[in-house]
């Protein structure tokens, strides 16, 4: 079994209005040193082991559904765990 962590963020060149709002709130808390805030999504997937290559499967999930690659980047971490 695999535990997969997927991280999705807006692409560098895409303006993040949520991040900008949070950044200005942090500034008003006197954390003026904050330079940039980017808000993203974090997902945890538990996946049974099959014959399919796990890396290929996760890539397809990200490309087709979990991320919209027009505006978002993704990365993931795969950890193999023993099923309980």
């Amino acid at each position: 079994m695999y535990k997969v962590k997927v991280f999705i963020t807006l692409r560098e060149n895409v303006l993040d209005p949520q991040g900008t709002a949070v950044e200005s709130a942090l500034h008003s808390m006197a954390f003026e040193s904050v330079r940039d805030v980017r808000i993203g999504k974090y997902m945890e997937l538990t996946i049974d082991k099959t014959n399919q290559n796990i890396d290929d499967a996760i890539k397809e999930m990200c490309e087709r559904l979990l991320a919209n690659t027009v505006i978002e980047d993704y990365r993931y971490e795969i950890e193999e765990v023993v099923a309980l």
Binding site: L10, V14, L15, P17, Q18, A21, L65, N68, V70, I71
Partner: protein, 228 residues
């Protein structure tokens, strides 16, 4: 002409769309659930606004994997007129039937108000009843209408004259180049954030949306008669 209004869980402009077609345009219309597997017999397909699947993950992202969507893709390839309004536009983007993506509105607020639009292209099957450059009034109601595409796609949209409507004077949501609506390369799929179906009677504050539906019917009849 017979229209299908696709109903997703969370669609909330389906009834307005139905009313616009049946009562204001005077054409045939039926609701088609997202679980249906055929669009046979329909001459036009309407994807209404709303919050399909609760806008979970991204707007339109779940709806685009509905059972009916492969049929919408097929109809698109066959040249059937397809109109996606608001969430319908977002679904068309996620499905890859139109290029680009939606971001949250620039100022993060959900915006619900009348907007002034400019008809950039009046040669599409959706806009021939308008004059080129005409300013029309349609309402918007969305939190994610901030259209984005990369530079290459944008120049492609411009070259092919695919930008159909732009926000006039005031850009409410920060969309790239004031884009409010675009068509696909073939010109048979239109996605737009403003709601033409909510502007079909002067009682509603504007009837500027009616011409859009009239354009579809007129152009469909012309091609139908020519091909018959």
């Amino acid at each position: 002409m017979k229209f299908a209004v696709i109903v997703f869980p969370g669609s909330n402009c389906d009834i307005d769309m139905f009313h616009a077609i049946q009562d204001e345009l005077g054409e045939e219309v039926e609701y088609v659930p997202h679980t249906a597997d055929s669009l046979k017999g329909f001459d036009g397909i309407l994807l209404p606004g709303g919050f399909s699947f609760g806008d979970y993950l991204r707007t339109g992202a779940i709806a685009r994997f509905s059972k009916i969507m492969p049929e919408v893709v097929k109809a698109s390839a066959a040249g059937v007129p397809i109109l996606g309004v608001c969430n319908g536009f977002q679904i068309l983007l996620e499905a890859g039937l139109l290029p680009g993506a939606m971001r949250k509105n620039r100022d993060l607020a959900f915006i619900c108000k009348q907007t002034q639009l400019k008809v950039e292209n009046n040669t599409t099957m959706f806009t021939t009843s308008y004059k080129k450059g005409e300013t029309i009034t349609l309402p918007i109601a969305h939190g994610e209408g901030n259209y984005y595409c990369d530079e290459e796609t944008l120049s492609h949209l411009k070259e092919n004259n695919q930008i159909t409507f732009t926000y006039h004077m005031d850009n409410p949501n920060g969309s790239l180049e004031n884009i409010a609506g675009i068509v696909n390369e073939n010109g048979n799929v239109l996605g737009m954030m403003p709601h033409p179906e909510r502007a079909v009677d002067c009682l509603l504050g504007s009837e500027d949306g009616l011409k859009l539906f009239q354009s579809i019917v007129r152009n469909w009849r012309e091609s139908y008669v020519v091909n018959a």
